[in-house]
């Protein structure tokens, strides 16, 4: 037993938040906060914090960060609550700084000029998010508070980005140039990633069951799915083109279903192949790791094998199986971006277009939503797995 009472832990000085806060202060002053470009291709001129957002903005940023550092070392019991408010508000208001930057520096009457986000801003966003994670951990905040906070911050960003002030932001410009393509890419990305994970999960479940029922199949199945995992993703995409083309030209029915050598079919097949290893392995390990004495108790008290599987083994294995689904989902969202190379669509198409045109903002328009989707899927599946864990270990 620890002799430190919980409330005294709460008043001990925190070390993480001052470190993050001071680092943020240094970086936000040292690095460019934003850039102004006369048009899409020409590289722009950078502006430091003071030049970018003026005295008022610089004081605001410096003040909030310093307040966080000071608050975190003060021996007060309510400080984590106050820090939560302060950091949350800062995160929610961040786009406002970009708005100020654009109105201060964008030349009047030049429709091609655009503002873009500099490394200083990215660092500020990243470090504030880390501080938020630390605060939530200290507060032992429950899931709903975390969710509410996320909703408030994202909501405020959406509102700010829809306002006129940020129209000049290059990222917004790129989006405004192709809102339909963006929606289309989002749909394609989600359909491919989740379709592959869904089909893969079903297939992995069947394979894992086969391995449990007949141990002779364990090595071949694990060997095959491991082998699939080792082929580089681009190679799989490429390898599938020839056989699928041959198939679809041989059977016109397949062609009418949209199955061709390029497009979504090879992408989906490759994504499924990649999703198998983590899910087969986790499902197999989770089910075989159910303690023997529990199986013995269930069987000894008169459960049939079917009841034993659905009432005991499966529920106990579920958190680990979902962990497999979580890993696979994150991996599939990332890989789907690469699948754009063979014409599967999704956010990857923006990334490759942007690379082709040397337009970094278009690359970001593809990359940022991919990252956001992966983070969101990670958070949701972690929550799901946590809610399915039997119980806390102690009361």
């Amino acid at each position: 037993m620890s002799v430190i009472r919980p409330d005294s832990i709460r008043t001990l000085p925190n070390r993480v938040i001052p470190a993050l806060g001071l680092l943020a202060l240094a970086l936000v002053w040292l690095l460019d906060f934003g850039t102004i470009q006369p048009n899409r291709i020409v590289s722009g001129t950078g502006h430091g914090l003071l030049s970018a957002v003026g005295w008022a903005g610089a004081v605001g940023v410096t003040g909030s960060l310093s307040a966080c550092v000071v608050l975190s070392v003060l021996p007060m019991r309510q400080r984590y609550g106050m820090l939560l408010g302060l950091v949350g508000l800062s995160l929610a208001m961040l786009p406002l700084l970009l708005d100020v930057f654009a109105t201060r520096h964008l030349p009047e009457g030049s429709p091609y000029a655009r503002s873009s986000i500099g490394p200083g801003f990215w660092c500020l966003l990243f470090l504030l998010s880390l501080m938020m994670i630390e605060i939530l951990g200290r507060l032992r905040a429950d899931r709903w508070l975390q969710f509410l906070l996320l909703a408030v911050i994202v909501g405020s960003w959406l509102v700010l980005f829809r306002s006129d002030g940020l129209e000049s932001l290059s990222l917004v410009r790129e989006y405004n140039a192709r809102p339909d393509a963006f929606a289309q890419a989002l749909r394609a990305h989600l359909a491919l990633a989740f379709g592959a994970v869904g089909i893969g999960a079903g297939l992995a479940f069947v394979l894992a069951l086969k391995m449990i029922r007949s141990p002779a199949w364990q090595r071949p199945i694990l060997g095959a799915v491991s082998f699939l995992q080792t082929i580089p993703s681009l190679a799989v995409f490429g390898l599938l083109i020839a056989p699928l083309s041959a198939l679809s030209s041989a059977f016109p029915l397949l062609q009418s279903l949209g199955i061709r050598g390029i497009g979504w079919t090879p992408a989906l097949l490759a994504l499924i192949a990649y999703s198998l290893l983590p899910m087969v392995r986790n499902t197999f390990v989770a089910i075989t790791d159910v303690p023997e004495h529990l199986v013995d108790a269930g069987r000894g008290m008169g459960m049939t094998e079917r009841q034993l599987f659905f009432q005991v083994k499966l529920p106990l294995a579920l958190p680990v199986m979902i962990e497999g689904v979580r890993i696979t989902t994150i991996q599939a969202i990332g890989l789907t971006a690469v699948a754009a190379l063979i014409g599967a669509g999704g956010f990857g198409s923006f990334i490759f277009q942007g690379l082709g045109q040397a337009a970094m903002d278009l690359v970001l328009l593809g990359a940022l939503p991919t990252i956001a989707l992966a983070l969101l899927a990670d958070a949701l599946l972690t929550m799901l797995a946590a809610s399915l864990r039997p119980t806390p270990a102690t009361a």
Binding site: T304, T391, P392, A395
Partner: protein, 315 residues
Amino acid sequence: MIELKNVTRRFGDAVAVDNINLTIETGEVCVLVGSSGCGKSTTLRMINRLLPRSSGEILVDGEDIATMNPQQLRLNMGYVIQGTGLFPHWTVAHNIAMVPRLLKWPKERIDARVEELMTLLDLDPATHAGKYPQQLSGGQAQRVGVARALAADPNILLMDEPFGALDAITRENLQLEMLRIQQQVRKTTVFVTHDIDEALKLATRIAVMDQGRILQHDTPESILRRPASGFVENLVGKQDRGLKLMSLRPVRDLMTRHGSPKPSETGTEGVREDDNLRLALSIMLWQDLPQVAVFNAQGQETGVISRERIIQEGT
């Protein structure tokens, strides 16, 4: 009644249970005792068909269990194992209700039964029903394990070292609890343990096993008085057999009764009628008394018991 006739179980070339014959009468507690690997658990697990037997016959109430559906057979046999085997994703109430649920009892009947059993095992339904097994102490968890085994009121109770993982005090409490419950419900019980004191305390009859064979099957008193072989004699302990015998007999047997029960004076030292002779002797030796008062369950003084008489007639 459970009858084992010429039952053998082999694992490959090894013989775990070697041609044993054993009859367990209805309502008695048969304790299988022996060191690990002697075949006692294997014997128990053949009775509910968790292990198939290699040869021989096992009859429950005259019917060969090989002809029965194994699930039906097991649903009518409570099963308690070491380390409880409680399901961690189910609450205490849900765990206890397991077999009634498998038998598709109506919900009200299950709820009433769960409450009844928790009360029987001294677990407060209000505080414990909604807890999960990890939130219980070892003793509480094993009480839940016993309650779960008794849930559908089976005729037979199989217990495989149920108290083996508990500390000495908790184990002692649960043993007393089991004696009390057994007096109320009278289940035909097969109990496996390696602890000879536990066997002597709980058993109607003890079967001592070694290397897959039953060396002796008799009452605790006969096992102590007339051990069939050197192995059994060693197991029960050559030296302190006298004291062990004393612990089998209640004070009631050797007390000198008063004409009529007297109300007790507060502060009088004494023993109760159903305490054992060993305890009474120990109290007298420690306090250096020639005799000590005996009380009945209502707390009235019903007589005295003397040191002299225990030493002369106690064994």
